[in-house]
């Protein structure tokens, strides 16, 4: 079983719910590590249904957005589904400004997101 330093994982049925350890996702080294751990879920652990719960995340930079976009590509390439939930308004605005709210399937909360898989 892979060790995850930047992520906390729980299984709800077939869905892997991912929460973030860091409240602020901005440090370059942490973002690189975060990206590797997320990609590992898809490429090595072969998880098909991922829900990223942003409840604990207060801040993220465009570098973190880049990792999410790459993750989305990898999930789609593996025939999986990726959903996001519990994004606070300031961070949702970042997704809206960059129009990534159209790329990602974003739900209000975890229950909504789980029901939509």
């Amino acid at each position: 079983m892979a060790v995850h330093r930047r992520l906390q994982l729980t299984e709800v049925g077939d869905v892997t719910v991912v929460r973030f350890v860091d409240r602020k996702i901005l440090d370059e080294a942490n973002i690189q590590e975060l990206g590797q751990e997320l990609f590992q879920l898809v490429e090595e652990e072969n998880r098909k249904s991922l829900l990223l719960n942003f409840l604990s995340v207060e801040f993220l930079s465009s570098a973190a957005l880049g990792k999410l976009i790459t993750l989305d590509k990898k999930v789609k390439a593996h025939g999986g589904k990726l959903k996001l939930s519990n994004i606070r308004p300031e961070i949702y605005e970042v997704f809206a400004i960059t129009k990534l709210n159209k790329l990602f399937d974003i739900k209000d909360d975890e229950a909504d997101a789980l029901a939509s898989f």
């Binding site: 370059e28 801040f59 957005l65 590509k73």
Partner: protein, 206 residues
């Protein structure tokens, strides 16, 4: 021995002197603090030609405080300077959304300067200066890189580029600040946030 790229402006005088060299004549600061604040640039004077009007405008405003640092091109130093500057701003009356936007814009600008401007070259430096006035904060971030043309950055909201993993930093800066301008060379960015005049929630989004 580590050899750094020299900055003539700093070698001459770290404070004050070059304010006299601007095109708008000798500025008369309204407060004593501004006299200490530097408007000199670590970059060549011609790089600032297009923005001298703004420099002069700022020179005639009372400054509450000035923050200035020069750092090496490593991201840890960049984040430390951001935390120090944001600590100053948190003591003021910015609301949480404004603070979020300022933090995000500064993060993007400083990381751009270190990573894309100076290419993480430890021999190059990044200069950060922030003036706080009763009306606004004004920040200038300068690197020693080749510069770039911000107009050539692809629009990542375009459907052809929506899945491009980079290129959103400038867009976020422009949405969360009231003014974002680059010099001609593209290695200096000025950011301005006016108090009590927030940017609209998500400019141009639907």
């Amino acid at each position: 021995m580590m050899r750094r790229t020299p900055w003539p402006a700093f070698e001459r005088s770290p404070f004050g002197a070059r304010i006299l060299e601007t095109n708008c004549g000798k500025a008369e600061p309204k407060t004593g603090k501004l006299a200490v604040a530097t408007f000199s640039s670590p970059l060549e004077p011609q790089a600032f030609h297009v923005r001298h009007d703004k420099w002069c405008e700022m020179a005639n405003e009372p400054t509450t405080w000035t923050f200035e640092r020069t750092i090496s091109s490593d991201l840890a130093s960049g984040h430390q300077v951001l935390e120090d500057l944001l600590g100053r701003l948190q003591a003021e009356d910015w609301d949480s959304r404004q603070m979020f936007g300022i933090r995000l814009a500064l993060e993007e600008a400083v990381v751009n300067a270190i990573k894309h401007g100076n290419c993480l070259d430890y021999n190059k430096q990044v200069h950060v200066i922030c003036h706080s006035t009763p009306e606004k904060i004004w920040i200038k971030i300068s690197d020693q890189g080749k510069g770039f043309n911000p107009e050539h950055v692809p629009d990542c909201t375009d459907s052809d580029h929506i899945d491009c993993p980079s290129g959103r930093g400038i867009m976020l800066m422009r949405n969360f600040m009231n003014r974002v301008e680059y010099n001609q060379k593209g290695n200096v960015v000025e950011l301005e946030k006016r108090r009590g005049q927030d940017t609209p929630c998500c400019n141009g989004c639907d």
